[in-house]
Structure formats: structure tokens, C-alpha cells
Symmetry: C2
């Protein structure tokens, strides 16, 4: 029963971690489930319950020491180490992702960038040299990369995903607005701004 913890619990841990990073950035050293809950719009009971799946991180009467809880959550989430991530697609979106400064202090860094269009190959993108799609599988196997971000057009996303998975990638963050079919042992997350917008327009007017 090593992994009987509900995925919905896992999905909240990074949010807790981000809030804790914010709090310590603001100079705070201790917090409580109530304070955290108020910031996040979540009940304090839920936060305590979620955390209790992994151990007793707090102290009655005083709450949680932020540095300690941060470390514990990082350990649970497996982001104490630094993960190499492959980026596929060097268009507008891919370029923005490549230049994004927010990965490095949160457990990730982009290791390589690939694109299919011949005129982009060997061009620089920030600190990276864009490599051809044909080299992708080999590079990923060689470096043992397990995480990839897909920022190619919807039409090519599935075939890129297939190649990635064949090369050993186990987690995909997909920016293309399309659902991917992947084996059970591969994880996929989606980022599609329109999905979020449409979810809100339901409530408007």
C-alpha cells in the first residue's frame, strides 16, 4: 500500500508548498492550518488531513515551522532534487516557456529544446541551442530525461508524445490543446488557457 494516497491530496501539496514559499519570502517563520487555509480558500481541517497522510509536521498549540514543513513537502513531492526537463516546440509559446525564470528554484530546469522546422535548428533560444526533432529520442535516452513539456501544434502533439514515451519520458506537461493517449505508467498534465476561461464564462452575466 505504498501509494494509497488519493491523487486529489497530491494535487494540493504543490499549492501548499507555493504558499509556504510565499510566507517565508515575507519573513514569516511559523504558520497554522487556519492561516494557510484562509490564504488558499481551503478549510483548515482539509489541510491538516492532507498533511497527516505523510506524518505529523506540526505542534499542538503553535502550528507549523515553515522551513521544516517546506522541506518535508519537497521531500514528499520528490523535488528536493533537480529535474531535467525537455522542451519540444520553439514557437511563441515554447520560446516563452524557455525564457521563463520560474522553474529553477522550484525543482526543475530545462535541459534541451527541440523543434521540427529546419530554419530554427541550431539557432539560439535564450541559453539553448535548438535541436532537430530527429535527435530528440537519442538525447532523451542518453541524458535519462523523464519529464517533457510539449509546446507544438495540436496536430503533432500525439506523435511527439509517442516518441517521448518511447525514449523513456514518464511525465508530460502538454501545452497543446488536445488530449493525449498514453499508457498507464505515464503521467500527463494539461495547460490550456481557453479551458480555464470557458470554465469561468459559465458563471458570467
Amino acid at each position: 500500500m505504498p501509494s494509497s494516497i488519493p491523487d486529489i491530496v497530491i494535487s494540493r501539496l504543490p499549492v501548499y508548498l507555493r504558499a509556504l514559499e510565499r510566507l517565508s519570502h515575507e519573513g514569516q517563520e511559523v504558520t497554522s492550518s487556519h492561516e494557510l487555509g484562509k490564504r488558499l480558500g481551503i478549510s483548515s481541517a482539509q489541510i491538516r488531513k492532507d498533511l497527516s497522510h505523510f506524518g505529523g509536521f506540526g505542534k499542538q498549540g503553535t502550528g507549523y515551522r515553515i522551513t521544516y514543513l517546506k522541506d518535508q513537502l519537497r521531500q514528499v513531492l520528490n523535488v528536493e532534487r533537480d529535474w531535467e526537463v525537455a522542451l519540444i516546440g520553439a514557437g511563441d509559446l515554447g520560446s516563452a516557456v524557455a525564457r521563463y525564470r520560474g522553474f529553477s528554484n522550484r525543482g526543475f530546469h530545462i535541459a534541451c529544446v527541440f523543434d521540427s522546422s529546419p530554419e530554427k535548428i541550431n539557432k539560439h533560444l535564450g541559453e539553448f541551442v535548438i535541436q532537430p526533432l530527429e535527435s530528440m529520442a537519442a538525447v532523451i535516452v542518453e541524458r535519462g530525461i523523464k519529464i517533457a513539456m510539449i509546446a507544438v501544434p495540436a496536430e503533432s502533439a500525439q506523435s511527439v508524445a509517442d516518441t517521448l514515451i518511447g525514449a523513456g519520458v514518464r511525465a508530460i506537461l502538454n501545452y497543446a490543446p488536445i488530449n493525449l493517449n498514453v499508457p498507464d505508467n505515464v503521467h500527463v498534465q494539461y495547460i490550456d488557457p481557453v479551458i480555464h476561461l470557458q470554465r469561468m464564462t459559465y458563471y458570467l452575466e
Copy 2:
């Protein structure tokens, strides 16, 4: 009881709509809850249950006519009309969002772009002229804009949100990696790639 439909149901409708658009793009005219469910990794019962909140859109024996179901979902989600969206922040991320071609055929278009840094004001960004943050409230009130996307640094996100809400914005898509405090009648959605990545590393190794 106009809005007793669970938010979790609403959150799946845009995903259904996207899959239907894909199917009709592929030339298909009819689908079933089974086919849709298989594509999305969702049970067919859940799809039928979700849709049944809004009416009977299918036919026993044959399934759903795709064009019809698409239209119905667009109506439910309130994206038959076109929504004007304000974009705040013209850095790397904001620029990529501004250039993104995926909004227009799905119910949204960017109407104006704002940034705080003096050297960007009046510069062009794609088809837009970057306007100063000081004009933001006035422009949003005047145009009656209800939706905004925040792509500014975490430090300024909350104060930008406060101004937006004061100007009448009711839905915010926040790209800044920070939780926003907003009144109950304002909707917020978050896009933070690191949250998604951290959710997957839990399962790796």
C-alpha cells in the same frame, strides 16, 4: 435553483467541447458517450450524467450529433458570444499570450494590453499598442470588460487584481505563481506550470 450544478461538472464541459471540436475537425459527425469517454479517459456514465444536467442532447441507439452537441455546450458555457479579454503584463509570458492564436475561434479575443514599465508604453506587441497601467481601470470600465489575464510578477499580481475588480472585472486567469484574494463574486483560475510538474514528480522514480 438556477445554479445548483456542481462546479466540477462545469469544469469538464470545456474539455468535452474541445474533444468535440477535434472530432468534427477530423470529419466525424456523430459520437457516443463511450467513444468520448475512451478518448478522454473518463467513464461514459459520467459523460452522460454531466450532459443530462442541461438537457437530453443525444438519441438512444445512435449517440450525439457532434455539431448539435457543440452548439449546445457553447450555449451552456456562454461562449457563443465573443468575450473581450484584457491582458496585463507584456513581459515574456504576456507577449506569448498576446501572440497566441488559439483564443479567437473559441470565444475570446484580447482587447487591450497593459504594462507598468515606461519603456514599453506605446510600443507595439503584435497587433496591440501597450498601454500604461494607469489607464487600465478607465479602459476596462469604458469597454465593459469582464475578463482579464494577469501575467505580471507575483509581487504585483494582487494589487493588479484589486484594480481590475474595482473596474468591474469578474473573471481572472492568473499566470502569476501566487494565490489571489478576491470577493466571492469574482472567479479566479490559475496557470502555474510548476504546480503541474510537481504534481507529477510525486509519482516518478
